[in-house]
């Protein structure tokens, strides 16, 4: 228990020191992106890792969050941070609405519906005319402000993201060990028995997608205010695949998995940058390799090797997805 808190504290401290040691602003920008991706992937993991549902529509929520917050902050006087929250909530509600009919489907049909959802959102953004800016997208998105302090440079923005990452991971950890979190894992492990114990499988899946929507929306909003410019191409299916790959590589259904996966894949992408077109081809091969050789991800391997069977209940969700 205490050692666990110590690990958390050390991880936060290490993250907080990143801007101090980072050589340049570009590295800090990448770290901001890592933080944002961690938020998105945390939501994704609720649906995929904890509830056992396939989802490839994460970029859709990411887009809804980005466009909502960008449009609100440009066209209204609502404080930017409040726009971020509203964006998250709107994305969450849309997640709920889409999930209601969608979660009756399983496997690749659910995959297809979530892809369809993501593509529809992207195409709407692309063809939204003046409202969404079409192909050009939206630029000059304002920076967040708190009590007169503007998070204008990547240094301050990094700390804003860090605070939100910590808050949202705290929320995730609370949720997955709560009554609702147990119902997520119950439908994943054995939906028949879950139903026999009063868990409404359909509602539980909808709840998971609602949570995913919130995290995805907040992530998208933070992205929009970070780079100050959004366009539809950012929110393609490739982005959804990228998110899911991060979660899978790190290890779905675990606390550290999505964090580790996000950091590794983002760094890998940066390292592959000089290879140009090869970058994406190698990335494709890496996905296949991960699926073949470590489908439970890094945390899944760590846990099965060093056996965290004794993970204290209520502290850490049991590792990896099984079978």
């Amino acid at each position: 228990m205490n050692s666990r808190l110590l690990v958390y504290a050390l991880a936060i401290a290490a993250a907080a020191l990143v801007p101090v040691f980072a050589g340049n602003d570009y590295i800090i920008l990448i770290c901001c992106l890592i933080g944002i991706y961690i938020i998105v992937n945390t939501g994704l993991d609720m649906v995929y890792g904890y509830s056992g549902q396939i989802t490839l529509g994460q970029a859709g929520f990411y887009a809804i969050g980005a466009y909502t917050s960008a449009l609100l902050s440009i066209n209204t006087d609502i404080p930017v941070l409040l726009c971020v929250l509203i964006a998250g909530l709107l994305s969450s509600v849309i997640g709920m609405i889409v999930a209601f009919p969608a979660v009756k489907l399983v496997h690749h049909f659910l995959a297809m519906v979530t892809i369809g959802f993501g593509e529809i959102i992207r195409l709407l953004a692309l063809n939204g005319g003046h409202f969404t800016g079409g192909v050009e997208g939206i630029s000059n998105i304002p920076k967040p402000e708190l009590f007169g302090f503007v998070f204008a440079d990547v240094h301050s923005y990094f700390y804003l993201v860090l605070v939100l990452v910590v808050l949202l991971l705290w929320g995730k950890q609370n949720l997955v060990t709560s009554r609702i979190g147990r119902s997520f894992r119950a439908i994943r492990d054995n939906s028949g028995a879950a139903s026999a114990f009063g868990i409404n499988v359909h509602h539980t899946k909808v709840a998971a997608f609602t949570v995913e929507g919130f995290f995805g929306g907040v992530g998208g909003a933070l992205y929009a205010h970070l780079v100050g410019f959004i366009s539809p191409e950012t929110f393609s299916l490739t982005q959804s695949v990228l998110f899911l790959t991060m979660v899978l590589l790190g290890g779905a259904g675990t606390f550290w998995g999505p964090i580790i996966g996000t950091i590794l894949i983002t760094i890998l992408f940066e390292l592959l940058q000089p290879f140009g077109q090869m970058q994406m081809a190698i990335y494709g091969l890496i996905i296949i390799g991960v699926m073949l050789f470590m489908p439970k991800g890094i945390m899944g391997m760590v846990n099965s090797r060093w056996g965290s069977r004794g993970a204290p209940a209520g502290q850490l969700a049991p590792s990896g997805r099984s079978h």
Binding site: L105, V106, H107, I120, L123, H323
Partner: protein, 292 residues
């Protein structure tokens, strides 16, 4: 009326392409119970391979057709052996296989860009460019060729699957692996061949549509998704359903372009797909994908 008929013809042409891909999805689903997301990239690859044979090497078109088909069948067979079989033998879950095929799709698309570059190519047609007038409707010969080719392929596939020994072997292997191997059918070969045929169909579709739509590395993604939509709408796992679904998707797309705006044709197609999945999951498709 003239515009209407024009659009029907256009819808049939793209519909035929979706149908060819959809047939592939259905075959693979029946053989392996799986979804592949690489179908669109095989379609793209078919166009590039055909382009290389036809333009770069200057081979006669019939030979191009045969060679392209052979290459694509081989690629499909290899994909199954190198990626899918190992995944299944490791007991992977459907999502892992789905993601692996997405990885494959990403790889193929970028490989194509490495080999052929990212610009769009035009593919000469062997038919006359001049539209033919039938009554008051003018029709591009290539479009008719595509629709006819689709019908021929469908008929051929039907005969192959139902009348030939090899087809019987494929159907038996798809239906019950255990029983098929007991009666002496080489199941791994049969499953691999089924993938080969599916990929061959996608590649042929790419080659056939190339003179109309051009050839470029990004041509596969949307077509692949719409081919899947065709398979689902027509009845997933049914080869003839995929044809009906493909034509439906093609018509919906063309009519949306014609009467609303071509900007929204893809949105409408996806909305159509979602609507079918939400409202008629049992009516139009088999019941396996429903979670009580």
């Amino acid at each position: 009326m003239q515009l209407f008929l024009q659009m029907v013809m256009g819808g049939l042409t793209v519909g035929a392409v979706y149908a060819l891909l959809g047939m592939g999805y259905s075959l693979i689903y029946r053989a392996s119970g799986l979804l592949t997301f690489a179908q669109g990239e095989y379609f793209m690859l078919g166009a590039f391979v055909g382009l290389t044979f036809f333009v770069n090497m200057g081979l006669p078109f019939p030979l191009v057709l045969i060679l392209t088909t052979a290459v694509m069948v081989a690629i499909g067979f290899l994909s199954e052996k190198v990626i899918i079989t190992p995944l299944i033998s490791r007991g992977s879950k459907p999502i892992h296989i789905v993601l692996a095929t997405i990885g494959l799709a990403i790889f193929l698309q970028n490989l194509a860009m490495l080999v052929w570059g990212s610009r769009a190519f035009t593919m000469p047609t062997i038919f006359d460019d001049m539209p033919v007038f039938i009554g008051s409707v003018f029709i591009i010969p290539q479009n008719i060729a595509i629709v006819i080719a689709m019908l021929v392929l469908m008929g051929g596939l039907h005969l192959f699957m139902n009348k030939s020994r090899a087809g019987l072997m494929l159907r038996a292997a798809a239906q019950d692996r255990m029983a098929a191997s007991i009666v002496g059918i080489n199941v791994p070969l049969a499953i691999g061949l089924t993938w080969g045929i599916s990929v061959g169909l996608a590649g042929l579709a790419g080659l056939l549509i190339a003179p109309v739509h051009g050839v470029h590395a990004h041509m596969g993604l949307l077509v692949g998704l719409k081919g899947f939509a065709a398979a689902v709408i027509g009845g997933y796992g049914s080869i003839y359903g995929a044809v009906i679904g493909g034509i439906l998707v093609g018509l919906v797309e063309t009519f949306t372009s014609g009467y609303i705006s071509s900007n929204f044709k893809d949105v409408v197609v996806f909305a159509f797909l979602l609507l079918v999945l939400f409202l008629k999951p049992e009516g139009l498709i088999r019941s396996e994908q429903i979670d009580k």
